[in-house]
């Protein structure tokens, strides 16, 4: 028997359903783990473009000849590209994020190369109300990045603000 949780659509009329973006602050509880889907395959082209877009001058990311002489033997993916993909992949659960307050820790635990596929999963570690602002709450979470072979490539702990249920602007904006 399959068990389901959290509505993906909100009924807004007769036979009419609107897609829902993200869980409400009230839906989260300490100890929950969310496996985010889809995953995302990172290409070496993505890696080059990210390095050039950000003015990253470490040639390990975009000089394949140089990279072939390192212990990695091929270009290593920019670590911030890995972590931005991991954060990006969480939107279906954290779509009602106000913003990220900061990271306590980010560990790059394994190399990522062009062609690797990243999957994200997040565990809820802490949850607290904001006394001065009833529209939102604060979550402490750990997001892990796992590649196609099941190897952990990144683990990060961060705090984010998430809107609470029925916070009016979502409805006003037709979401």
């Amino acid at each position: 028997m399959t068990e389901f949780a959290f509505a993906s659509h909100v009924p807004v009329g007769e036979n009419r359903y609107r897609e829902r973006y993200g869980l409400d602050f009230e839906d989260f509880a300490i100890g929950q783990t969310f496996k985010h889907r889809p995953g995302l395959t990172v290409s070496q082209q993505d890696n080059v473009e990210d390095a050039l877009d950000t003015l990253n001058q470490a040639m390990l990311h975009f000089d394949e000849h140089y990279a072939s002489k390192t212990e990695w033997q091929r270009p290593l993916v920019v670590s911030t590209l890995t972590l931005q993909h991991l954060i990006g992949l969480t939107w279906k659960t954290f779509g009602k994020k106000v913003r990220i307050l900061g990271w306590a820790d980010i560990s790059m635990t394994g190399p990522v190369f062009g062609g690797d596929t990243l999957y994200a999963e997040t565990e809820i570690k802490g949850k607290q109300d904001i006394a001065e602002d009833p529209s939102r709450g604060r979550l402490t979470v750990v997001t892990k990045g796992i590649n196609q072979n099941g190897a952990l490539v990144c683990s990060m702990e961060y705090d984010l603000l998430v809107y609470k249920r029925d916070y009016m602007p979502f409805a006003q904006a037709n979401y």
């Binding site: 950000t54 003015l55 072939s68 002489k69 972590l83 279906k92 979502f170 904006a173």
Partner: protein
């Protein structure tokens, strides 16, 4: 005061550019000001979100952003972190791998149109036990906006090659 070099002489009147400062030349307490600065635009923030597979509504629906977030064009935290980290790569170029960050903070929000500048302080250095050709650098990087307000700060550990022990000669660097 240390002296750092940008070029190496290959032959009379022939110079090759050097990438990065050598591990041995770093000392605890040194501060490196990274240049150039970098300006953020709303369009790159949107592109960054889409490229990250991030379908958060505020990135793609301006009406929603106006109503829920009062129209503020805030730059994504992951983009700020990417750019500030990338800004350090001219000085910290001889990197084997980036090991991780600690205590990443965003004291002031960054909006489209803002320009940031970064600097890094050397907090510690030690040789690697398991990798004799390599060493670990511990740095604190902070970035300020055009008004001088701190917008991002973090500590980071990176693995770098020791002098003469990297792949530079083999790769023609």
């Amino acid at each position: 005061m240390g002296t750092f070099y940008s070029h190496r002489k290959l032959a009379e009147d022939t110079y090759i550019e050097i990438a990065g400062v050598e591990y041995e030349d770093f000392e605890v307490g040194q501060i490196f000001e990274h240049r150039p600065g970098r300006t953020f635009t709303a369009e790159e923030n949107r592109r960054h979100a889409l490229r990250s597979a991030d379908l958060s509504i505020r990135n793609v629906d301006a009406v929603y952003n106006d109503k829920v977030y009062k129209g503020e064009q805030l730059i994504a935290e992951t983009l700020i972190l990417s750019v500030v980290t990338a800004m350090t790569t001219k000085t910290f170029n001889k990197v084997v791998a980036n090991l991780g960050w600690k205590n990443i903070q965003f004291p002031t929000l960054v909006r489209a149109g803002d320009t940031i500048y970064a600097e890094s302080e050397i907090l510690g250095k030690r040789e690697s036990q398991s990798r004799p050709a390599q060493a670990v650098l511990h740095v604190r990087t902070r970035a300020v906006n055009q008004c001088g307000d701190e917008v991002c700060a973090f500590e980071r550990r990176l693995l770098i090659y020791k002098r003469g022990l990297g792949p530079y000669e083999a790769a023609g660097y």
